[in-house]
Every structure is written in structure tokens, then in C-alpha cells.
Symmetry: C2
Subunit: 428 residues, 2 copies
């Protein structure tokens, strides 16, 4: 069988150069149209391959996907498909790759199957890809943690003493995770300016984005079980772009001592296509050197970072878009494997569909910072946009779009985007 990541593969579907979805990607998502209820799909060029239809035409019959096939392909989330296990994901991706190869007529030459199995992306509505069972947000970019420490604590000791020893993280709100395209309402909340006598309640004045990448757990554990670091990646299904919208004023008044709460839980956005860890294999890179060396349970060999180029753009209502940041997921100090092993190290049970976000991904340069907080340095260096306006934080009507892609040796696979527009706060 051909390796579905082989850069030489090409499809009988026309795929524009620079597309996020060549035959080497094949990310999974959930879509619906006016005619079809929710279906699982795979992105290919400008199309979605309807996996339920593919199954109905018998193309998966020999794959031994179990009794839940084909029902598993007409769900509102990927969860049940993911729960089939890694051999099933791999078999489906491999088969989809074969069906789409330029030299395979099996699907291409069946008119009815073609009509049923391929839908234009412009004609579908993408749904949230997974129902997140639990959501953890990490804080794993050393540049971001350092910047926050400089701004809010002590520039001389910006990193807290635990930071280089632990992939610091906290549990976030799973219910308010929404799919790209969902507008985000500016939250009301309690906040207190440092010089105010008392707190007040009203619309957040410091609405921000956070550029993150999330991963979806594909294999759970039982309570009491741990995950040795060398097996951690076997528990990962795939990756998404993640915008951890943050209300800085609410957050800074509430977060001591128990962490972020309402400053985050009003909404978080995920991209609709989950890029499998398998598809990202060609883009492994080494992460930063970890000094001091982590404790044994977090010590990893080989490369566990992934070279994903990331961009953030802001588009004011009716105006042009400005790319305000270019960063890279390969910069993460703590890897996904370390995050997952740490989460499970106390016996906490992982569940299929858990979502783990990286924390804001900032680079070392002023144009690679992953939040408005850092880009405008706590409001002290307003950020110019292409329409001539400036931003300290986000304004109503602003659309924030994050994009991500990998590129190497002529092969490019992408994540698509995660986008959302800021709506005004509700009255009172």
C-alpha cells in the first residue's frame, strides 16, 4: 500500500496549488447540508468527501470497522468514529487516499457514487468536529509565559519557579467550545481597574484572542492508569486550530488564586477540520532544548514538535484584513506528548474527545506574538491595522481569523482556518 503521506501522490480531483487539502492531508470533520443530516467527511481540495455515502457504496466493506459502521459516519461529532481506534482511522484514511488517487477509477467512474460522495465545501455547513468531553488549556510557550510574567509580575523573574518543570495547565469550560464561524459575543463581567475603589459589572474592555493549537484525544485511559511518555502520541487523534478568546480585565480580577474562569468560559473556537497526527508525520521537528532536563516521566527522545506555520489576521467590520502575527507551533517548549503524559500522571482518566489546547503560541519577535495583550503590550503600543485604525484590544465587529499550514520539500498541508467575529455585549 502506498504511504498516504507520499509527496508524489496526486488525485483525480483538481487541487489548486497552495490548497490546504491535498491528497496527503485528508483531515476529518463533520458537516451538514440542507439535504443531508450531519455526516462525517474528509476535506479534499474544494470538496468534502461524504464518508457515510462512501460507506453506503461499499467502499469500506472490507475494512473491518465493526458493527457501528456505517452509522458512525452519520453522527454530529467524530467521537464515535475516533473511539473505533487508531487502526480504524488509519484504514479509513488509507482507503480514502486510494479512492482519490489519480490512477484509481473505482469511485471516479461511478456517476451516481460521485454525485453522492462529493460535495462542494461552499455548499456545506461545518459543525464542531468533536463533542469535547474535557478541555484542558496549557501554557506551554516559553515566550508567552515570559511576556505575561514581565507584564504582570516581575521582569527580573518573569518565569515562575515551576514553569520549566511542569507543563502548566488548567481545566477550561468544555460546553462553550464552538466551531469556526460562530460569532463571539463580548462578555459582561466583573472587573476592577487597579486604581478603582470597587469592582463594577459590564462589558469587557479588554477582549483578546489567543493563538493556540489543540489536540483531540483518540484513546482514553481508565482512572488510575498513566501514560508513559513513549506511548503518549498513540493517544492523539489529530490537531485543530484553537482561538482561546480571553477577557483580560475579567481574568485579571478573578484569577487569583484559582485560575482563569469567566475571563475564558464565554467561548472558545475550534477549526472544523481535524488534521490527523499521521498526516503531520513529515513535519516533525525538535522542540526547544529543555533546561533543566525534565523529570524522568516527562523526558522524551526524538522529535515531538510539529512545524506548523501559524497566522492571525484581524478584519474590522467592512474593512480589509491585516495579518497581525506569524508564529509557529514548533516553538512550543512543552510538547503535546509531555502535556498528555503530565495530565495522566496522577491517574486522571483521559476520554476520547478530550481537547487539549497548547496555550498562546508566541515567538521571540514582536510580529510573532499570539495575543493582543502581547502585540499591543498591555495597551501601551497600539497595533496599527491596514485601514488606519489602531487596536489595544478587540473592538465590536472585528473578525479574528487564524490559519495554519505545514510546508516542506514541496508538500503543503493546511488546517484551514478558525474565524469568529466579535458581537457587542448583551445589554445589562
Amino acid at each position: 500500500m502506498a504511504n498516504p503521506n507520499d509527496p508524489a501522490l496526486h488525485s483525480w480531483i483538481d487541487i489548486a496549488p497552495g490548497s490546504d487539502f491535498p491528497i496527503q492531508n485528508l483531515p476529518f470533520g463533520v458537516f451538514e447540508t440542507a439535504e443531508r443530516g450531519p455526516r462525517l467527511g474528509v476535506a479534499i481540495g474544494e470538496y468534502v468527501l461524504d464518508l457515510y455515502a462512501v460507506a453506503q457504496f461499499g467502499f469500506f466493506d472490507d475494512l473491518e470497522l465493526g458493527a457501528k459502521m456505517p452509522k458512525v459516519f452519520r453522527r454530529r461529532s467524530l467521537n464515535q468514529f475516533i473511539a473505533l481506534g487508531r487502526p480504524a482511522w488509519r484504514a479509513v484514511r488509507q482507503r480514502v487516499s486510494e479512492l482519490l488517487r489519480h490512477d484509481n477509477p473505482a469511485l471516479r467512474n461511478q456517476e451516481e457514487a460521485m454525485r453522492e460522495c462529493l460535495v462542494r465545501q461552499s455548499e456545506v455547513r461545518m459543525l464542531r468536529p468533536v463533542k469535547p468531553q474535557n478541555y484542558t488549556d496549557f501554557y506551554s510557550s516559553i515566550e508567552h509565559a515570559t511576556n505575561v510574567g514581565i507584564m504582570f509580575r516581575d521582569p527580573a523573574n518573569a518565569l515562575l519557579p515551576n514553569w520549566r518543570h511542569i507543563p502548566i495547565g488548567y481545566h477550561g469550560r468544555a460546553s462553550s467550545i464552538v466551531v469556526s464561524g460562530t460569532d463571539i459575543r463580548r462578555p459582561n463581567g466583573q472587573r476592577k481597574a487597579p486604581d478603582a475603589a470597587a469592582p463594577s459589572f459590564g462589558p469587557s474592555q479588554q477582549l483578546d484572542f489567543e493563538l493556540e493549537v489543540g489536540f483531540i484525544v483518540g484513546k482514553g485511559t481508565h482512572l488510575g492508569e498513566t501514560v508513559p511518555i513513549q506511548y503518549a502520541e498513540e493517544h492523539i487523534f489529530g490537531l485543530v486550530l484553537f482561538n482561546d478568546w480571553s477577557a483580560r480585565d475579567i481574568q485579571s480580577w478573578e484569577y487569583v488564586p484559582l485560575g482563569p474562569f469567566l475571563g475564558k468560559s464565554f467561548g472558545s473556537s475550534v477549526s472544523p477540520w481535524v488534521v490527523t497526527l499521521d498526516a503531520l508525520e513529515p513535519f516533525r521537528v525538535a522542540g526547544p532544548v529543555q533546561e533543566p532536563e525534565p523529570l524522568l516521566y516527562l523526558r522524551q527522545l526524538d522529535n515531538h514538535n510539529f512545524d506548523v506555520h501559524l497566522e492571525v489576521a484581524i478584519q474590522p467590520e467592512g474593512g480589509p484584513e491585516t495579518t497581525v502575527s506569524r508564529s509557529n507551533f514548533g516553538l512550543m517548549y512543552w510538547s503535546m506528548a509531555q502535556q498528555l503524559t503530565h495530565q495522566a500522571s496522577n491517574g486522571c482518566n483521559l476520554q476520547v474527545g478530550d481537547l487539549y489546547a497548547s496555550g498562546t503560541i508566541s515567538g521571540a519577535t514582536p510580529d510573532s506574538l499570539g495575543s493582543m495583550l502581547e502585540l499591543a503590550w498591555r495597551g501601551t503600543r497600539p497595533l496599527p491595522l491596514a485601514d488606519g485604525s489602531e487596536r489595544k484590544f478587540l473592538l465590536d465587529g472585528d473578525r479574528v481569523t487564524m490559519r495554519g499550514y505545514c510546508e516542506k520539500d514541496g508538500l503543503r498541508i493546511g488546517f484551514g482556518e478558525v474565524t469568529g467575529k466579535v458581537l457587542p455585549a448583551p445589554a445589562g
Copy 2:
């Protein structure tokens, strides 16, 4: 119709004086036996009333519970039943009350129905009552927050500046919430003594309990919606006892700046019977005076605290049990209504089955503290047990049992208990 809370009601089932489950309580839970798969039940005296069997015999036929009846009574959790809404919970509780009244022969005189509908509690296994969709842990006892502040921060400014303005809370781990009776494995984790040069990984040396009461959300909200304080209790289905097991050494090394994480997520225990807010109505009391007055969105009229007596007992392996604390849920500074309204104030969507825990419930006296941390004052005043041993924190083999009940004017309703035994940490 008779008020099911009427202290004058009595049942044809013999109920021992001091039972937690007289006819005025009728809490909901989920059970199974060797013969019956999971079923929803109501506790009455030493029995469980099998709601699926009751439905099969037609006793709910006129209640208009909808198309999901009777299937909703043979689920692994109360979630779907709760989702039917408050009129359905009330109708079922009212009908169960009628069926169990001393002067109603409808069920009592049907031999076959009696055999199918009533099971001894000693013959059933109780399951986790709800699948928690999201779990939030608050920090709403002023005595507990003050004690922690004295121990870990500044005795002169023990309460943080935000504490009297916000019901401080954080998102906890939903997946590791287990039902009473589940043993709890001491977690391994990373910790660093203040005088140690570097952190190390191993079994927690400071395993603790936290005496809490949790409530279950019975009515959700949409993203962007808020819950005015006067309607908050309409979103509450019922209450459980909650043990928020805590590994203090892991927690203290990890929690700055993003809050508790692995120090908590190895397990939390809930009692199996959910006492409805309706059943607790006779036990409303005023909470502490809130000074300064909360902001308008958190300002409540009337009484929103509940007078629930609470106890914690420790039983070493093979030894006698010692009651180490007696506290009261009525002491809470922030009410459940305030917690819920605050959680939803930024538009965060609530979900049926969400679990919100109170935070450790400590009183003002040394024998009313809700955690070992406070009872043994950070290890400086070891707590004597009845077997002559002492505890700074929990030892392997210790069983921790929490009990709760309300009592007023001769009426007593109880929560049963939440219990769990500490197992040794897994090897390395």
C-alpha cells in the same frame, strides 16, 4: 394534592426513626442489581423504588412525561430524566409520594408490582447519579478561604481583595468524578518542598479530603444567555455530598498562576442520592451577611442557604471510625444561586448534568473545619483518632466518610453518605 414535604405524611413502608430517607425526602439515584440493568430509583427507608418498574406497571401513565418515558428510567445516569424539566421531576416525586403514603393501597396491594418495584438498598449497587457535563468547584466558605489565606499567604490580609466580590471558582475535571464507595488511589505527582533544590515525582505525601456539597444543574442555557439571580434556583435539580480529594503537595507546587490541576483531578466522590431542591425547601436559612453588598447581578432577596448538618469521619484500616468534623452547609458565604448566576454572567452556557461544588465548608470552630489541611493546621497540630493514632494528612487504608442531614420540627431528611478508602499509590 398533599405537599410531599408535609411532616405529617407517613408511608406504609416501615422507616426507622432517624432514617435519611423518609417519605418527605424521595431523592433520585441510579442503581443496578445482578438481575436488573441500570435503573433510576428513589430511596425510601431501607428500600429503593425502581422507577422503571413503577412506570411499567402504569403508575406514571397519566403524568405526561413525554415520549422518552419509560426508557428514561433505565439509563446509566439521571441526565435524560433531569432534561425532562422541573414539571416532570415534580410530577414524579409527587406521584411517588402518593404511592408510598400509608393510606394508598394502589402499589401496596399488588403483590407482583411490590416485588418488582421495591428492592432492598443492601441488594443494589449504586452508580454515579449523573454524567457530569462540566464541573466547577467554588471556594465559597469564608472561614475556609480565610484559613487558607492565613496559612499560605498573609494572616493580616487573609482574604484576597476579590473574595467578597466574586464567588471564586474554577473548572475541575469532570471525567474523574466517581460515586461513593469507589476507592481512591493516592496519586503520584510532581511536588517540591520549599527547602528542596528541585522538584521530584512520587506519591503525594499530603493527601486530603474536602467536605463539600454539590448541586446538579437541571435546566441548561444557551451560549450568550444569562441567569438573573431571582431565577437561579429554577436551574437547580438537586444536591449531593461531595468529597473533593486533594493532594496538597502537588497542588501547592502547580497552582500558580493557573489554579489547581493534578492536585485535584485524580478523583472526586459524589454521594449516590440526589436530594431535590424541592425536598430541601423546609430547611432554607439566611446565609451570612454579605459585606460589602454584592454587585447588583449577585444581589439576592430572601433565604438561599440551606441548613444541612455535615460530618466527616475517618476510619483507619481495621480500626474504629472517628468523627473529625461537624460543619453546616448553611454557613456558606456565597449561595448556590449566586454561584450559578455568576457562572452564567458572561454568557457561558449551562448544561443539564453540570455539577457545581461549594468548596470546602468550614465553620468558625476548630472542630468544624472541612479539610485535614485546616484540622491539623498544615501538619502543625496532628489530629488524634479514636485508635490512638494521629493524622497530619490521610494514610493509605484510611476511609473517609461524609454524611449530611437536615432536621427541623421533628422532620429529618438526609443525604446518605459519600465514602471512599485511600489505596496506596501505584508503583513509580
